[in-house]
Amino acid sequence: MADYQLLIIGCGLSGIAAGIRAARFGVKTLIVEQHALPGGLNSYYYRQGRFFETGLHAMTNFASPGDKRAPLNLLFRQLKLSRKTFKANQQNHSLVQFPSALLRFSNDPALLEEEIAQTFPEAIDRFRVLKKNICEYDSFSVKPWKSAKAFLKQHLENELLEHMLLLPTMIYGNAEEDDMDLGQFTIMFRAIFQEGFFRPEGTIKDFLQLLLQQFEQFGGEIWYKKPVEGIEHDHNRVHRLRFADGSTVSADHIVSTVGLPETIRLTGWQTDMQQYVGQMSFMETLSVLRSDTTVSSRERETIIFYSHSDSFHYRRPTALFEPQWGVICFPDNFQGLPVKTEPQVRVTNAANYQHWCVMSESEYEEQKKRCAQEAVVSAGKIIGPYEQDIIFQDSFTPLTIERFTRKKGGAIYGSPVKLATGATPWENLYIAGTDQGYLGIVGSMLSGVSMVNAHVL
């Protein structure tokens, strides 16, 4: 008999969700995690006595407790967590800001519609039709790839507006360069513009604790600091995980949340790995500002998607990173949160993994600092200069992302080619998380849940 019925590689959000789902029905489950902390991309750390979150800007897919069909509430039911007692802080409002136009949106979809009616009166009727078609689009049945760009163009015939709607949807979940699959676009459009942004009450640490408590209460186990070095298998079935320390553990089923390229490496799977390596990676610069800074208090916006030009190219930059477009996030600016004495600003820009990974350590540190400065200057053009107010700064590069998520190339949205069924050449090894096809935190958790439902339960 195997040591466990189910092994899950990776204690990120999709792995934990898969774990809770299985353990809930008595499946003997073990999650193995390479790091000392849970969360994967969405984790936390301490520097100079301060607490910081890593990946999380906001969660998408906000829904009130009563709305049973909403992805967030479906997820809670599947994990047997109480949605009623879960406190979510919704966003204030957010912006898409281009040189020639600015659009506000909030968790009330009417705001975006009003803004478009005002700024793009010639396109508002077309936008309403677009929205209706997106609502009716069945995103979850498997369909051949279709261009979101062509869909938008056909509906809106307004290049600036098309770009302004694509920026948030792409930057918060698109693994492909240049264009986006229509199915993925409709999922992201609904998640961002129809449902909207929120934060779980407290920090990502509290949210992870809530989930892990549920997992452990159902009898699930976790091993930390256990990097997997191989998945042992014969022709049809996987049998056990081999760890860096040489030990092994066996299982009836294995769920991998480390992405397709890394799963290919761990199994020795004979396939073209390159098609599964995402090109889009990002650099994030977080700054803690002095209490008397004027920057974050302007309108208390939550998130600003910006471009310094009226069009933007969603692709891996040729340079180290691309400060021309990106996202600015104020993690303190959500409804119901007290005004922080030392507010934070996070700026995220596309970055080129290839350039980052060939540098010497000293060069890496130097370039990281230089790019962080450029990011702050770039964001300063939108929210007002704040370089002078920074009391602490840190940044993550594509290498940091790769180290913490094992996503090759630091591709936070994983492979541009998704594996909808989660099935691999081995009948009891499945892929869950970003590379299976659902996006965002709620999406990747639903991926973990649905892979366990489909293959394990």
């Binding site: 029905f25 008595g26 407790p65 009563g66 049973k68 069909r69 479906l74 039911r77 599947q78 047997k80 109480s82 949605r83 009623k84 439902n453 339960l457």
Partner: protein, 83 residues
């Protein structure tokens, strides 16, 4: 288990699955799905919970037997008579 006990078990399971379930006006002969706004994932949970509690294997082609409260009881009565 008696028919009434089986009924209570089903309601208890549904209540655990969905904290918002409202049984006040439940018609035992009308589909649970429509009345309680359950989806197929919720239905899977009922099946899984029965398996966990009573080691009951319900094959997928028999899921329709669980459509209404009365049909659940009819279907489960022989299977749970010794439980």
């Amino acid at each position: 288990m008696t028919r009434d006990e089986i009924k209570d078990v089903i309601l208890e399971i549904i209540e655990e699955i969905d904290e918002e379930a409202d049984f006040d006006n439940l018609d035992a002969d009308a589909p649970l799905r429509d009345q309680l706004d359950l989806d197929s994932m919720d239905f899977l949970d009922i099946v899984m919970e029965l398996r966990k509690r009573y080691q009951l294997q319900i094959p997928e082609d028999e899921y329709p037997e669980l459509a209404t409260l009365t049909s659940c009881v009819n279907y489960l009565e022989p299977k749970l008579k010794d439980a």
